[in-house]
């Protein structure tokens, strides 16, 4: 194949796949930043915390104090389940949150969570939590990125292309992960 024809094919593949990849790239890029900082914030849920007190129910048998707690909390939402986490700790699980009750002090901590709009779904896709069929989509996307990267090398000729500045930038792109890998291994 002549270089001119090859370049033409590269341009076509790069252009078409490039448009197709915009949405998926944004999914992975935005959620990538979000989950990269998972130790700083909860990328999936907005969480709320509310503290108040009720008359202490005491540390009697769970079967006896359970109904008392429910009555004092006056919960209207459906209860999923309850759990006596310890001598003085009682937990109530609700849809979208829960309630922790200190049986001795009567202190109540109500915590709630709600999915972050859009970001939850982006993270779900990025982390491939749903597995198949997203595994197939992610594989296709990965293949598209490889094709785009390789075809991209041949798009521009001359001093801005592979033999000029483009080549230097490409070398930098290779060098960055290599240096990082070497340095991080060296540091144990």
């Amino acid at each position: 194949m002549e270089m001119r024809t090859f370049r033409k094919w590269c341009r076509t593949f790069h252009r078409e796949l490039g448009f197709l990849a915009v949405g998926l790239t944004l999914v992975y890029a935005v959620s990538g930043i979000a989950v990269n900082h998972a130790h700083h914030w909860d990328a999936n849920y907005e969480r709320t915390l509310e503290r108040y007190s009720i008359e202490p129910p005491g540390t009697g048998p769970t079967a006896e104090i359970g109904p008392v707690i429910m009555e004092r909390l006056a919960i209207t939402a459906p209860v999923k389940s309850t759990w006596r986490a310890g001598e003085a700790e009682f937990q109530i699980f609700l849809e979208g949150g829960g309630i922790d009750v200190n049986l001795v002090t009567g202190e109540v901590v109500r915590h709630g969570f709600a999915k972050r709009p859009l970001l939850f779904d982006l993270n779900f896709m990025h982390l491939n939590s749903g597995k198949a069929p997203w595994t197939g989509i992610a594989d296709v996307y990965g293949g598209m990125l490889i094709v785009m990267a390789l075809t991209g090398i041949f798009l521009v000729r001359g001093r801005k292309g592979l033999t000029g500045r483009g080549g230097v930038l490409m070398a930098l792109g290779f060098l960055l992960p290599i240096v990082f890998a070497v340095v991080s291994r060296g540091g144990g």
Partner: protein
């Protein structure tokens, strides 16, 4: 090439649609569960050394979920106040916060991790913080062994 693009877009849309309409039945995480018997968490915790390295399956209410990466859940025992932790590899299985309070069956290999004194103090400090109690590291004199299930799969019952 236009036809190829159109075809690829159509396939992607169909896959996403199928993904969105995924079944609403029991939710399976990872490899699910396949061990023949479900054992009581209390039996596991009463004699933890006996099960090290063995595949175990437990059932109980999910009473704790990792808030950062969904990489572990705590399952309530049949004995009050006792829980067992199921730790999964980060990103391989992600437990959502919504399963708190749901009935979970989980499976994996029972493991024991001997902690150093420094690690033991950190665990005790974190536990004290979670419980809202004062922590004095001088009270920690022996190293801790953390038992947990190295989880391979779980099933959450449909509501």
């Amino acid at each position: 090439m236009r036809y190829v693009s159109a075809l690829l877009v159509s396939v992607l849309i169909l896959l996403v649609a199928g993904f969105a309409m995924a079944d609403e039945g029991d939710k399976v995480y990872g490899e699910g569960v396949s061990a023949p018997d479900t054992m009581l968490v209390s039996d596991l915790m009463a004699n933890p050394e006996a099960y090290i390295g063995k595949t175990v399956r437990v059932k109980g209410t999910a009473v704790g979920v990792c808030e950062h990466r969904g990489c572990w859940i705590s399952i309530a025992s049949d004995t009050e106040g006792e829980t067992v932790r199921v730790k999964v590899k980060d990103g391989v299985i992600v437990f959502p916060a919504e399963i708190m309070g749901d009935m979970v069956v989980a499976e994996g290999v029972w493991t024991a991790n001997e902690l150093t004194m420094e690690q033991t103090k950190k665990v005790c400090a974190a536990q004290a913080k979670e419980d809202g109690k004062e922590f004095d590291e001088k009270e920690v004199s022996t190293c801790m062994t953390l038992y947990q299930i190295s989880g391979t799969g779980a099933v959450v019952a449909s509501k």
